[in-house]
C-alpha cells in the first residue's frame, strides 16, 4: 500500500473522480464533433486526458485502450519544453519522444490559474488523435517501412502555440508534408478546440474548489486507483506464469516474430518480464515501450470495476523488464507503425495466456488479435481531389468460461467505430460490395468463439493500397480444449479476373475495377465441445 495515501473523504473521491472524468469526456466530445477526417469524427480514434502538474495521469476518457498507458510518456516528453506560459500547446508524434506511431498526434497544454498575483500551473490536458495521413511513402502512413523516416513526418515535442500564438511556420511545414493538408488542418484545429475547452473546464474547477484542494484530490484519486488495483492483483494467485505467442511476420520476411512473457504475481504487485522476446525487426511491427505498457495496463484495467479511474495509480503496482532494441521496446530508427496497432494486440494475447494459468475461470481465449488495418490513397477523379482513407475492421472475440465470444467486433486494444458505408461512398472513390459475418470462423468449444467479418471493396480509381493485418497464418488460440478461430485472409481480384492471395502485410497499386476482400479472424473457442 502506498505510504502517501491518506484517508480521503469517500464522497469527495467519487465526486472528484466524476469531475475530472467529465473534463476529459467533454474534450473528447468536442474533438469528435468538430473533426474532419472520418477516422476521428466517425470512428472516434482518439483519447483525451487530464494530468496533474507533475505530468501524472489523473483521468482519461474511455475511448481507445492503446492510448491508455502511452499518454503519460507524451506528457513527460512535453515537460522538457518547460517553463510553460498560458496559451501554450505542445504537439508531438515522435514515437521515440513520447509518441506511439506517427499517425497518432498528441497535444499537451498547460492549464494556468491565478493564485493571488501569481499564476500557478494547475495541471495539463492532453489529447491524442489518429490522423489518417502524416506523409511518408504510402497514403495512410502505415507503409511497409524499414525505418521510421519512411513512415511519415516526425514531430518532436514543439510548441504549436506559444503564449496563445500559432506557430505558423511549424504548421506550414507539417501541412506541406502530408497528402491531405485541408483535412489535417481541420483535425488539428479540432484538437486545439478540445484543448481550449479542457483548459477552461479545469480552470473553472480550480476556481470553484481551490488550487490546493484540487491538487489534493488529484493525488487522492491516484492513491485510490492504486488501492483498487493492488486489491485486484492480490486476488490473483501468487506465482510465475510463462506464455509465448507469435506475430505472423514483420511484412519484410516470412519469419514469425516471438513475444515471450514471464509474469510474476507476488502479493499486490505484478512484474512483466519480456526478456526473451524477438529483437526489433526490419519491418514496422516494433512497439515502443509505452505501447507494450499500454497493453499490460489495459488488461489490468479489465480486472477492475468500471468506476475506477484509469490513472497513474493503476500503473504503480506494475513493473516491467523490457529488453532494449526488441519488438517490445524498439530503438531508433526502427519502423513502428504496426507496433501500435498489431503488436499491441499480440502482447495482450501473451498476457492473457499467462493470466489464464492463474485465473482459469475468468480469462477468455484469444480474440481476432488484429485491427485489420487498411489504407487507400490516391487521386479522386470524380471529386477532383487527393484522398486518403484509413479504416480498421473488427473480428471475432475469444470465448470465455462463461460466455461465447462476440462476433464482428473490435477487441482489446481498439474500439473504433466503422465508417457508415453511405458516408464512405459519398466521400471516396470506392464502393462496398459486401459487409457481413464470416460464418463459422469462430473456434469450436463448449463456448464458441465469435465470428469474424467479410468485407469487400471495389475501387473506382487508381490508388495505393496498404494492408497491415495479423493472424493470417497463426490462428487465435482456444483455451481449455477449445479449438482456435479461423485465421484471416486477404485477397485481390484484378479487373481482368486474376485472383491474388495477399500476404498479411502488403502495399500495392490498385486500379479502377479491382476488388479487395478481407476475411477477418474468428475468436478462439473455450472448453471441449
Amino acid at each position: 500500500m502506498s505510504t502517501r495515501c491518506q484517508p480521503s473523504d469517500p464522497a469527495e473521491l467519487a465526486i472528484f473522480n466524476a469531475l475530472f472524468a467529465a473534463v476529459a469526456e467533454e474534450m473528447g466530445l468536442t474533438l469528435g464533433r468538430t473533426a474532419h477526417s472520418p477516422n476521428i469524427k466517425e470512428r472516434r480514434d482518439y483519447s483525451c486526458a487530464v494530468f496533474d502538474p507533475h505530468g501524472r495521469l489523473v483521468a482519461q476518457a474511455a475511448h481507445i485502450p492503446v492510448h491508455l498507458g502511452a499518454m503519460p510518456s507524451a506528457v513527460e516528453a512535453a515537460l522538457a519544453l518547460a517553463p510553460f506560459t498560458p496559451g501554450d500547446v505542445v504537439m508531438l508524434n515522435d514515437p521515440y519522444l513520447g509518441g506511439t506511431h506517427l499517425p497518432d498526434i498528441t497535444m499537451i497544454s498547460p492549464v494556468f490559474v491565478s493564485a493571488g498575483r501569481r499564476r500557478r500551473l494547475a495541471g495539463f490536458v492532453a489529447s491524442r488523435a489518429h490522423h489518417a495521413d502524416v506523409g511518408g511513402v504510402a497514403p495512410g502512413s502505415m507503409p511497409l517501412a524499414t525505418d521510421i523516416y519512411q513512415e511519415g513526418v516526425i514531430i518532436p515535442p514543439i510548441k504549436l502555440y506559444d503564449r496563445g500564438r500559432l506557430n505558423q511556420a511549424a504548421l506550414d511545414l507539417l501541412l506541406r508534408n502530408v497528402r491531405t493538408p485541408d483535412e489535417r488542418r481541420g483535425d488539428l484545429e479540432a484538437q486545439v478546440a478540445a484543448h481550449r475547452l479542457g483548459e477552461a473546464r479545469l480552470a473553472e474547477m480550480v476556481e470553484r474548489y481551490g488550487l490546493r484542494p484540487t491538487w489534493r484530490q488529484m493525488a487522492a484519486l491516484q492513491d485510490y486507483a492504486e488501492r483498487m488495483t493492488r486489491a485486484a492483483i492480490a486476488a490473483i494467485p501468487d506465482g510465475q506464469y510463462k506464455f509465448e505467442d507469435f506475430l505472423d511476420d514483420d511484412g519484410i520476411s516470412d519469419e514469425p516474430v516471438p513475444i515471450r512473457l514471464r509474469l510474476t504475481v507476488q502479493g499486490d504487485g505484478l512484474h512483466c518480464d519480456f526478456s526473451d522476446s524477438a529483437p526489433q525487426r526490419p519491418g514496422s511491427v516494433n512497439a515502443v515501450a509505452s505501447v507494450t505498457k499500454s497493453a499490460v495496463y489495459y488488461l489490468v484495467r479489465c480486472l477492475l470495476d468500471e468506476q475506477v479511474p484509469a490513472n497513474e495509480g493503476c500503473f504503480r503496482p506494475v513493473a516491467f523488464t523490457l529488453p532494449e532494441g526488441s519488438v517490445v521496446n524498439a530503438r531508433p530508427p526502427a519502423a513502428v507503425s504496426a507496433g501500435n496497432v498489431e503488436t499491441s494486440q499480440r502482447i495482450v494475447d501473451v498476457v492473457l495466456g499467462a493470466l489464464a494459468q492463474a485465473l482459469p475461470d475468468l480469462i477468455p481465449a484469444a480474440s481476432a488479435g488484429t485491427m485489420n488495418n487498411l489504407a487507400i490513397g490516391g487521386y479522386d477523379p470524380l471529386r477532383q481531389r487527393p484522398f486518403t482513407y484509413y479504416e480498421t475492421v473488427g473480428g471475432g472475440a475469444g470465448a470465455g468460461p462463461q460466455s461465447a465470444g462476440l462476433s464482428s467486433v473490435h477487441t482489446h486494444m481498439t474500439n473504433t467505430m466503422n465508417t457508415p458505408i453511405e458516408a464512405l461512398e459519398m466521400a471516396y472513390p470506392f464502393r462496398i460490395l459486401e459487409y457481413g459475418l464470416r460464418s463459422g470462423s469462430g473456434g469450436h468449444g463448449r463456448q464458441r468463439g465469435g465470428d469474424g467479418i467479410v468485407r469487400r471493396w471495389q475501387f473506382l480509381a487508381t490508388g495505393t493500397l496498404t494492408i497491415v493485418s495479423e493472424r493470417r497464418r497463426l490462428p487465435p488460440w482456444g483455451l481449455a480444449g477449445g479449438s482456435p478461430g479461423q485465421p484471416g485472409r486477404n485477397a485481390l481480384e484484378r479487373r481482368d479476373g486474376q485472383d491474388i492471395d495477399l500476404p498479411s502485410k502488403c502495399q500495392l497499386a490498385v486500379e479502377e475495377g479491382d476488388r479487395l476482400t478481407l476475411e477477418t479472424p474468428g475468436g478462439g473457442g473455450w472448453g471441449r465441445a
Binding site: 464522497a11 473521491l13 468538430t34 474532419h36 475468468l362
Partner: protein, 669 residues
C-alpha cells in the same frame, strides 16, 4: 369547453389528470401490466369522468422492445448487407470487459435476407430490382411465419423506388411493413436500419393495443384518442401504429412538456427540468422551446427518430449507496426499485437516497405518500450505519454524504445540458418534479448558481399534465445533402429555391398524412429546421429557420456552432444534410385556475417544526402544500409536504406561492 384527459401509464401506477373548464382533477391507480388498457378503462370507470379526448402515454412499445416481446420480424437489405444489424458499428459497449456483450439483433440470423439491387451514392440505379426475386422471397417469409417486415436498402434516402416497390408487394401480401424511406429517410445505414427494425418489431404490438384501447374508450363516449410521441407531441392511433418507433421514448417527454408549458405560463420560458424518480433522474434544458435529438438508443439499440433531448443519470430515490474497497462512496446506478425498495420500506437493509433523506429529517414518515406507506426510520438509520465507518460511525454525516454524491451526479447531468452546450445556467429556472426532484432542487440550484426553482402544484403527476398540454404533431424529414459555399452569390439564390421547393414537397406529403387523421390541412402550422454542419464534418446541428435564405440562416448556424463547440468559422463552406418539418395542429391549452389569495402569511399551512439537516441540524418549519394559498411566503429552512412529493427549502432560500399554486423558490443571496 372540451374535457381532455391525460393518462400516463407507468410500471407501477397509472396517472389520470382531467382538465375541464379550467379545473384539474387527479386520479392514481395501480397499473395492469398484463394489459395496460384494462387499467386505463377501469380507472375511467372508477372516477366516472366523461372526457371528449384522451391523450395517452404508454410504455407498451418500450416494454415490447426491452422484454423482446415484439412481432416475428424479418429484414430485407441490399445484397451483401444482411448482417448490418448484427455488426452494428463494430464496437463493444464497455471498453474494459473480458467478456464483451451486445444485445442480440431483433431479427434472428435466418430472417435477415438480402435482395439483388444496388444504388450508388447519388441514388442512381446500379443493379435494378428483380420483381420475381422479391415475390419468391415474400413467399418464403410468409411460410416462415413472419408477421412484420423491415425494408432498408442502401441509399434509399436518395431514391426510395426499390424500397417502395418491395413495401407495396409486401403490404398486398398482408405483412406489416416498415420501409426505411417512410420511417427515417436519412443517411447512415446502421442507424436507419436499426430504427426501421425497431419500428417493425413493435408496430404490430402497438397497433393491436391501440385498437383495443380505442374501442374501449369509444364505448365510454371518448371521441378522440391521441398518443404521446417521444418528441413531445401527440399523434393519432393510426399514425402511432405505423410509426411506433416514435413512441418508444415518450416516457420522459410528458414531464418536460408539462414543465415547459407550466413555466411558460408563469413567464419563465427558459427552464432546466429536473425529473427525479425512483431509479433515475431526467434532465433537459429548454431555451424557449422543447429541445429534441435524433441520436438516442434504448437498450443499446439506436433509434434515430426525434425525441425530447433528455439526459438521464442513475440517481433516484431508490439508488443504492455503497462503499468500495478503495474507500469511495458510490450512489447508483443500481436501484432498490419499488420492491424491496429503500430500507425504510421495511423489507431490506440496503441504504438508498430516500433513506438518507429520512435520516436527515427531510422526508417525514407520516406524510410520505399521504401516510399510506408507513416508513421505518430505524431501518433507514440501520442501513446507513453499514456505510458510516469512514465517517467515524456518524450516521448523519454518512447520510449527508450520500446526498452530496447523488447531487454531484445530477449536477453533472445539468452541466451537460447547460454549460457544456454553451448555456449559462444563471439565466434559467430549474423546474423540479417527480417524487424526489423538489428535495434536491435548491441544493443543485445553489451549486450551479441557478437563481430560481419552480415546483409545480402536482410534481408527481406532471407527466399526465404534459400529455394534456401536448400539441398534435407530426415530424417529417428528408435528406438533401446540399453544400453551400461560404461566399455569397448566385449559388445562394439557387440554394434558397431548392430548399423551398423541397420543404414544399415535404409539407404537401405531411399535410396529406395529417388530413388522413382528420386534421384540417389549412389550420396546420409549419415549423422548419435544417440539419447543418460544416462541409466535411460528420455531426449535424439542428437549426430552427424562418427564412431559407443562406444570408439569414448561415449566421445563425455559425452562432449555434460557436455555442455548442466553441470554434466557428464563417469562411468555411457548410452543408445542409436534412430538412426537418414539424406540422402542428392547433389545440386547446390547459390553463390552471387561480388559487384564492392568502397574502404573505403562510401560517395557515404550518403544521409543525422539526429538526432537519441542512449542512447542520436546524429547526425547520413544516408546511402542508394543500393548505398554501396564492401569495403565501415561506422562509427556509422549511419542508413542504404533499401526497406525491416533498420540497426542501434550505436556509437562505425563500418560497412564494404564485397565482396558480406553483412554488417559486429563490435564493436571497
Amino acid at each position: 369547453m372540451a374535457a381532455i384527459l391525460g393518462v400516463d401509464v407507468g410500471g407501477t401506477f397509472t396517472d389520470f389528470l382531467l382538465w375541464e373548464d379550467g379545473r384539474l382533477a387527479l386520479h392514481k391507480r395501480p397499473s395492469t401490466p398484463a394489459d395496460p388498457a384494462q387499467g386505463v378503462l377501469q380507472g375511467l370507470t372508477e372516477v366516472a369522468w366523461r372526457p371528449q379526448a384522451v391523450v395517452h402515454g404508454s410504455t407498451i412499445a418500450t416494454n415490447a422492445l426491452l422484454e423482446r416481446k415484439g412481432a416475428r420480424t424479418a429484414l430485407i437489405t441490399t445484397r451483401g448487407f444482411r448482417d448490418l444489424l448484427a455488426i452494428g458499428r463494430q464496437t463493444r459497449p464497455r471498453l474494459y470487459d473480458l467478456a464483451p456483450r451486445r444485445p442480440p439483433p431483433l431479427v434472428p440470423d435466418d430472417l435477415r435476407v438480402d435482395v439483388n439491387e444496388r444504388l450508388d451514392h447519388s441514388g442512381q440505379v446500379l443493379t435494378p430490382l428483380d420483381a420475381g426475386e422479391v415475390e419468391a422471397l415474400l413467399d418464403w417469409l410468409a411460410e416462415a411465419g413472419v408477421e412484420s417486415l423491415a425494408v432498408c436498402l442502401l441509399f434509399s434516402f436518395l431514391n426510395p423506388d426499390h424500397e417502395r416497390a418491395i413495401a407495396e408487394r409486401a403490404q398486398d401480401r398482408g405483412f406489416y411493413v416498415s420501409a426505411s424511406c417512410q420511417i427515417l429517410p436519412e443517411y447512415r445505414e446502421y442507424e436507419r436500419t436499426s430504427t426501421t427494425v425497431i419500428n417493425a418489431y413493435v408496430a404490430p404490438v402497438v397497433a393491436r393495443y391501440l385498437e383495443r384501447l380505442e374501442e374501449g374508450l369509444r364505448s365510454q363516449g371518448v371521441a378522440r384518442l391521441a398518443i404521446m410521441q417521444s418528441s413531445g407531441g401527440s399523434m393519432s392511433p393510426r399514425a402511432a401504429g405505423q410509426q411506433a418507433a416514435r413512441t418508444i421514448l415518450s416516457g420522459p417527454a410528458g414531464g418536460v412538456v408539462g414543465a415547459f408549458y407550466l413555466a411558460s405560463q408563469a413567464a419563465c420560458p427558459q427552464i432546466i427540468t429536473l425529473d427525479m424518480g425512483g431509479t433515475s433522474t431526467d434532465v433537459s434544458l429548454c431555451p424557449d422551446r422543447i429541445p429534441e435529438r435524433t441520436d438516442t438508443a434504448v437498450g443499446d439499440l439506436p433509434i434515430a427518430t426525434p425525441a425530447v433531448d433528455v439526459v438521464s443519470v442513475g440517481a433516484g430515490g431508490g439508488s443504492i449507496a455503497r462503499l468500495d474497497e478503495g474507500g469511495a462512496l458510490h450512489v447508483g446506478p443500481e436501484s432498490a426499485g419499488a420492491d424491496p425498495g429503500p430500507a425504510c420500506y421495511g423489507k431490506a437493509l440496503t441504504p438508498t437516497v430516500t433513506d438518507a433523506h429520512v435520516v436527515l429529517g427531510r422526508v417525514l414518515p407520516e406524510y410520505f405518500l399521504g401516510g399510506r406507506l408507513p416508513l421505518h426510520v430505524e431501518r433507514a438509520r440501520e442501513a446507513l450505519s453499514t456505510i458510516a465507518a469512514p465517517f467515524d460511525g456518524d450516521v448523519l454525516r454518512a447520510a449527508a454524504s450520500v446526498i452530496r454524491v447523488a447531487n454531484a451526479n445530477m449536477e453533472r447531468a445539468i452541466r451537460l445540458v447547460s454549460v457544456e452546450r454553451g448555456h449559462d445556467p444563471r439565466l434559467f429556472t430549474l423546474v423540479a418534479f417527480g417524487g424526489a426532484g423538489p428535495l434536491h432542487a435548491c441544493d443543485l440550484a445553489e451549486a450551479l448558481r441557478i437563481p430560481r426553482v419552480l415546483v409545480p402544484p402536482f410534481p408527481g403527476i406532471l407527466s399526465a399534465f404534459g400529455m394534456v398540454a401536448a400539441e398534435p404533431t407530426r415530424d417529417f424529414s428528408r435528406a438533401v445533402m446540399r453544400s453551400i459555399p461560404s461566399e455569397t452569390g448566385d449559388e445562394w439564390r439557387l440554394v434558397e429555391d431548392e430548399l423551398e421547393q423541397a420543404f414544399r414537397e415535404l409539407a404537401a406529403h405531411g399535410r396529406d398524412e395529417m388530413a388522413a387523421d382528420g386534421f384540417d390541412a389549412q389550420e396546420l402550422s409549419d415549423r422548419r429546421f435544417l440539419d447543418m454542419r460544416y462541409l466535411g464534418q460528420s455531426y449535424e446541428l439542428t437549426l430552427p429557420v424562418d427564412s431559407l435564405s443562406p444570408e439569414r440562416f448561415l449566421p445563425a448556424f455559425h452562432t449555434l456552432h460557436q455555442e455548442r463547440y466553441s470554434p466557428c468559422n464563417p469562411a468555411r463552406a457548410t452543408e445542409v444534410v436534412n430538412l426537418r418539418l414539424k406540422l402542428v395542429a392547433p389545440a386547446q391549452k390547459p390553463v390552471l385556475a387561480r388559487l384564492p389569495d392568502g397574502g404573505p402569511d403562510a401560517s395557515e399551512a404550518l403544521v409543525g417544526r422539526r429538526t432537519v439537516w441542512f449542512g447542520e441540524e436546524t429547526t425547520a418549519a413544516i408546511y402542508e402544500r394543500d393548505k398554501l394559498r396564492a401569495g403565501n411566503r415561506i422562509e427556509g429552512p422549511a419542508i413542504v409536504v404533499q401526497m406525491d412529493s416533498t420540497t426542501a427549502i434550505p436556509p437562505g432560500w425563500q418560497a412564494a406561492v404564485d397565482a396558480v399554486g406553483n412554488l417559486v423558490v429563490e435564493s436571497r443571496s
